[in-house]
Symmetry: C2
Subunit: 337 residues, 2 copies
């Protein structure tokens, strides 16, 4: 029994049957009922995807993007959309502010758009099981994981980098070039976000290298915004400039800080080295070219969708993938040994 | 007769009536029919918006973004979403490649999501009436207009800057600083996009200033990508570097070109001035800070939605708004007079 047989039995075209399976509005209620009853009484087994659709779902996968202006997301979004298309679904995207709740947003979208699954791009790392009960479809945390939450790893999926480990690596890179007074440019030390994770990596790297943590070298800007990074570094340099290197948790923040350093007469990397994590395209064109650990953005988006579709189509359960960054040596780090 | 009366007559809550008016799926067919029949037999007049919704439309406004990786769009998207929210609608966004057809995409979305209206962010400037007949809901061209098309201005709406005029202004700015050998960094001269429009402004400025057009100074990269701008400028400088200034049609392209200039030992602005159009936030942090004409991105997004909602709610017909840029003087232009 194929879709063609169903169409013949109902006296409608194949595309009409397809429209019914896809829950399209442009089919009369009468035809819809007829097609569904024939399908139910026949031996026709739609593929997983189509079978789900019959159960009132659309063919949509939701993408909730938290923090729209994050340039780091652009390539991920593109990869997510491409892979969703290739998998035969359509993408419905919603952007929310950094202070909004991605789970609530996802839950509303899930009901309103009858989603099959959700990719959460950016979000908190401290979910509880109770919160996540709001979501009844499979979902994947893209670019972050649940380090500070109480979720059982078998209850959710994620694709991310090892934020703490990568920060450790960046700071160690500076240490190996002879730097001992290393400032950290972060958002906050305790926000349960990648800022806290990367700050931990900074702390651990210092400890491992036998350097005592100097809290006056921790510059917490309170956000990931370029302007806040610039202003915080301005303020810091107005007080003291007793460091030879800066580890910035994001490219954008590094670029903001570099302007402040210049304005205080400190050349990069002559007077101060700068390293970051992200790997934005534009960082590769500025002067000096930023030395940064590049996240595999395309792979991150693609793998998130692949894991999600595997879950939607019943091929596998929850999974966690940790991807690695690639050091892109620019010209913003100088060896002082 | 108010929504409360309707609720009382039906024996349901106000929010249930609201859900019916908003065509939400979480209402039983029985309740839906009851509420709609009471509304029909009563004197209750939903406002324009709600009345439309009863007629099978959702509360969604579509946003079709052409060229997702364009950083210039980020602030516009945020403003569009904010204004759509404030107006009581929800945004459904679709991103398409620079080679995709925004009208076809909009037409499909319109049917699938039962849109009330569409904002097209980025698109071709040469539509024909036949093409646009695909769209049956109001729409606004955001950030571009229809200079090369055959549309009657009363048949569509737009919010844009005067691209040719702004390019004219940028090139004139260079002329007034003493520059006579001015290169243009564009995508193409004949693509019916803002590239062609801004190229025309460059041509007209030269003509007005009495400078003969030298086609060897027109660097057409074939795209708006930063890497293509970098490579095209590299190639050009490998041949000859007989210009003292560059007008780039976009900030990103200017940033790509500036790296090529540096690598050829030409300092900006010492040996070569650079001016652009866009006003990305990041251009204000790089070294040297880019001198650029800032587009009013937030206003562009906000006004597009306002015009669209006015049309949806029957308050006005098609309109065209031309916004102006603001010169943000950076440090990339040097006077040589």
């Amino acid at each position: 029994m194929t879709i063609k047989d169903i169409a013949k039995l109902c006296g409608v075209s194949v595309s009409t049957v397809s429209r019914v399976l896809n829950n399209r509005p442009d089919v009369s209620e009468e035809i819809r009922k007829k097609v569904l009853s024939v399908i139910e009484s026949s031996n026709y087994i739609p593929n997983n995807c189509a079978r789900d659709l019959v159960k009132t779902k659309s063919d949509a996968i939701g993408l909730v993007v938290r923090g729209v202006s994050n340039p780091f997301y652009t390539d991920i979004i593109r990869a997510v959309e491409k892979r969703i298309d290739e998998a035969g679904f359509t993408m419905v995207m919603q952007q929310i502010g950094v202070c909004d709740d991605e789970i609530k947003c996802g839950a509303i979208m899930e009901r309103e758009k009858r989603l099959q699954g959700i990719v959460l791009l950016g979000g908190r790392s401290d979910y509880t099981a109770a919160e996540l009960a709001l979501l009844t479809v499979p979902f994947v945390c893209c670019s972050y994981s649940n380090q500070y939450g109480t979720l059982n790893p078998t209850e959710y999926s994620s694709v991310s980098i090892a934020d703490e480990e990568e920060a450790f690596r960046a700071v160690t890179e500076l240490y190996q070039k002879g730097h001992r007074r290393i400032a950290a440019l972060i958002s906050r030390t305790d926000d349960h976000s990648i800022s806290e994770l990367r700050y931990r990596g900074y702390e651990r790297a210092l400890r491992t290298c036998g350097i005592e943590l100097d809290s006056s070298l921790v510059i917490a800007t309170g956000s990931f915004r370029i302007q806040d990074a610039y202003e915080s570094m301005q303020k810091r340099l107005g007080e003291t400039d007793d460091f030879t290197a800066v580890f910035a948790i994001a490219d954008n923040m590094a670029i903001g800080a570099m302007r402040a350093l210049r304005e205080h007469g400190r050349s990069v990397p002559g007077d101060c080295s700068v390293i970051a994590i992200d790997g934005l395209e534009i960082s590769n064109y500025i002067d000096p070219i930023l030395t940064t650990l590049c996240q595999p953005m395309e792979e991150m988006g693609t793998r998130s969708v692949e894991i999600l579709v595997d879950m939607i189509e019943g091929r596998s359960g929850h999974r966690h993938e940790v991807l690695t960054t690639t050091l892109r040596p620019g010209a913003s780090v100088k060896s002082i040994v």
